[in-house]
């Protein structure tokens, strides 16, 4: 605790100064790299968003906030924002629900549990490219096993267009996103579950709690802290997700699954509009920042209660 406060105290002591200097030296590489790979590009993005710039030459004119004004009036931008929100909320919800359920399951005694754990966690570790390729192969209209299994089972009589039309394509990316990332929730929740003391459950059982109320009254409150962090991290990552959506649907049909990162990419490299792309990116960051601050605040308020 002492270390948390002592900025002013004892600054006169050369030992203390030496220590502080060492501390600064240890953090220096981090700060340097941060400045180079994050701060500098970030500032560039802010700066570029005020220009109208042709990407290949990086030449253009200062236009002030015209790019932002254009965005505000662009239905494509609002649609992309909406898509981003829909995708993030849906896939995140599924990740959390599946993640908790799978973690509870894997925390029970079962045959070959560690093999089961490995298999469940694996989707998180295969690269997005592999995941997308495999799913595109499963979804394939002509030779895909999903269509044929469904037709064989009598669920479908014609192959389904999983990726090319709405709402299927949104559902598909949400499902693949959930499949790919729910193991992250499993890892975190499983780690926490193992530390919940058994007496808590015994006490609940003595108090006559059934399985469901043991879950809601004992397990969930214990998981709360972990879930707060996991939700935050996953929300940010899902919001930023590019590879998976770009490789699965490319944003289509039309722009039905085009999220903001895809829009940035399209503006910057498809349309060579670096300025507008940067403006979209800046707005995207602002949205996330607002979300994050709001979220942290709500959680702090709950902590205090």
């Amino acid at each position: 605790m002492a270390a948390q406060h002592g900025t002013a105290a004892g600054r006169g002591n050369p030992l203390d100064r030496k220590d502080a200097l060492l501390g600064v030296m240890l953090i220096a590489p981090t700060v340097l790299i941060f400045c180079a790979v994050i701060v500098y590009p970030l500032v560039s993005a802010l700066y570029l968003s005020l220009f109208r710039i042709y990407t290949p030459t990086l030449q253009g004119n200062f236009v002030g906030f015209a790019n932002y004004a254009e965005l505000a009036g662009s239905p494509e931008f609002w649609r992309s924002l909406l898509n981003t929100a829909v995708w993030t909320v849906l896939t995140l919800t599924l990740q959390i629900v599946f993640g908790i359920a799978a973690a509870l399951m894997l925390n029970q005694a079962m045959l070959f549990r560690s093999l089961a754990r490995s298999l469940i966690l694996f989707p998180y570790f295969v690269s997005t490219v592999v995941a997308v390729l495999v799913w595109r192969w499963l979804f394939n209209d002509l030779y895909g096993i999903l269509n044929h299994a469904a037709m064989w089972a009598g669920i479908l009589d014609m192959p389904l267009d999983w990726l090319g039309s709405m709402p299927n394509s949104m559902i598909s990316i949400v499902l693949v996103g959930a499949w790919k990332y729910f193991p992250f929730v499993v890892i975190a929740v499983l780690a926490r579950l193992q530390t919940i003391p058994e007496p808590l459950y015994e006490a609940a059982r003595i108090d006559g709690a059934g399985a469901w109320s043991r879950f809601t009254d004992v397990t969930l409150p214990q998981l709360r802290e972990v879930l707060v962090v996991v939700v935050l991290l996953r929300a940010i990552w899902d919001f930023k997700e590019f590879d998976l959506i770009y490789l699965l649907t490319g944003g289509g049909p039309v722009i039905a699954t085009q999220t903001l990162p895809l829009m940035v990419y399209k503006e910057a490299f498809g349309l060579n509009e670096m300025g507008r792309a940067s403006a979209v990116a800046v707005v995207m960051m602002l949205v996330m920042l607002v979300f994050m601050l709001f979220y942290l605040r709500v959680n702090r308020a709950q902590d205090q209660r």
Partner: protein, 441 residues
């Protein structure tokens, strides 16, 4: 920094960024200049890579001390990669196989070296007549040249399936095509692998249909022309073909479309001559039954319109060691290597030099020999082919064609009408608006 000496602050929007790149690029370049040329292409099938390696080897042997590095790009990825390369000044020496409209776009931005020297080295008289017309954006100067021709919208048919369905005549009109598809569809086989995806193939193929209806995207002086009956007709027809395309056609691009026909899942195909090589390799069972034709149009009175990608060669203006880069570009047309390159996918990339077409070495390929009729047809088609960068002989070259394709304005029009069922008037007006914005930008 150089921002002040260069003057014109408003134009140098990127200030430090651009200056940094400008300062750094020559340093990097000079380090590489002595030895290395970088060659980019999106055409990277293994057999093509082998041919490229041969051309590189012969060039390196002829020019000691020079090293050529081949670097693959891709049809969907090249805009970003070229943008990054131009922005940084670290450009490839020679870029091949990009569509001609990409070349004209970069030319317009002043990023390319005039190609006249290279054309002179190859010999202007050896080209098919008018082969370089599409690259003459500034009169008297060429932005690049074609490295090949392609007939990207050849119609491929399965004679065995036609026979089974009782069709003897090759479809000439849209109605005949649709009728044939209806009769051949069934038993796991679909009619056409037409693309309905949000990608460049859908845009490019649909442009073929607009011309097949007697229309155009832009007028010869490059005014937006989509608000026309021809455009609407082609949308209607394209939509009516959806039921004969596999369900996943909503995300089809070249690869899926080709594979669908080659694997036997569709009764007709739309692609270049690469079909021949792929069938031979992957599904030889159907090889005896496939034939190539010009794609039908709305009626016999509307002439065929062949989509020629005009796979190009270009040299960025800031490419290091310019004389050597030009020599290498010309070297790519030397008969021994060029024929190998063409043979890597027989019928896919067609020669731009009439001298080559006539050579027995070129004719000697077994696939070409087995499919003489198809290859000859495609050569003829390609020679009179066009694309969005140059829609007809009367058109001015359209330097914005690359952005039009990349914006997906056209493929989105298809998707809006076919998949989303939006009213046709709304689709047309939105598309017209977007195209106008793009042309103005």
């Amino acid at each position: 920094m150089s921002i002040l000496t260069k003057g014109d602050l408003t134009r140098r929007a990127l200030g430090g960024l651009a200056a940094a790149a400008a300062v750094a690029a020559p340093g990097v370049a000079s380090a590489q200049a002595r030895t290395t040329l970088r060659w980019w292409s999106p055409q990277t099938a293994p057999a093509q890579r082998e041919a490229y390696n041969f051309q590189i080897r012969t060039f390196e042997e002829a020019n000691p001390g020079v090293r050529v590095v081949f670097e693959a790009t891709s049809d969907e990825g090249y805009p970003a990669q070229m943008a990054a390369a131009f922005a940084s000044g670290q450009v490839p020496s020679v870029v091949t196989h990009l569509p001609s409209f990409a070349v004209s776009n970069y030319w317009q931005a002043g990023l390319l070296e005039p190609f006249n020297d290279v054309i002179d080295m190859i010999g202007p008289q050896n080209f098919y007549d008018g082969a370089n017309r599409v690259y003459e954006i500034t009169p008297g100067q060429y932005a690049g040249t074609g490295i090949g021709n392609s007939a990207a919208n050849a119609m491929w048919l399965r004679r065995d399936l036609m026979e089974r369905a009782g069709i003897s005549a090759t479809p000439r009109t849209w109605d005949q095509l649709r009728d044939a598809c209806r009769r051949m569809q069934g038993g796991g086989v679909f009619g056409v692998p037409l693309p309905y995806g949000r990608n460049s193939m859908t845009s490019l193929v649909f442009i073929c249909f607009v011309h097949g209806a007697g229309g155009q995207i832009f007028t010869p002086d490059l005014q937006v022309a989509v608000n026309s009956d021809a455009f609407r007709n082609s949308l209607e027809f394209y939509k009516s073909m959806r039921e004969f395309a596999p369900p996943g056609a909503t995300s089809y691009s070249w690869g899926e479309s080709l594979t669908a026909f080659v694997s036997g899942a569709t009764a007709t195909g739309i692609y270049t001559g690469r079909v021949l090589a792929n069938v031979a390799a992957q599904n030889p069972r159907i090889a005896p039954f496939i034939t190539a034709h010009e794609y039908p149009t709305v009626s016999a009175s509307v002439p065929h319109w062949t989509f020629n990608d005009f796979p190009s060669v270009m040299i960025p203006k800031v490419a290091p060691n310019m004389p050597m880069a030009k020599r290498f570009a010309a070297h790519l047309f030397r008969a021994d290597g060029y024929i190998r390159q063409l043979h890597a996918a027989p019928g896919h990339v067609l020669p731009v030099l009439k001298t080559i077409s006539a050579m027995p070495e070129y004719q000697a390929n077994p696939i070409i020999q087995a499919n003489r009729a198809a290859v000859d047809l495609m050569s003829t088609m390609a020679a009179s082919g066009h694309n969005l960068g140059w829609e007809s002989p009367r058109h001015r070259p359209n330097t914005k064609a690359g952005q039009v394709i990349a914006s997906h304005a056209i493929s989105e029009a298809v998707q809006r009408f076919v998949i989303n069922n939006e009213p046709i008037a709304q689709v047309v007006s939105t598309t017209a608006q977007r195209l106008e914005t793009l042309m103005r930008a």
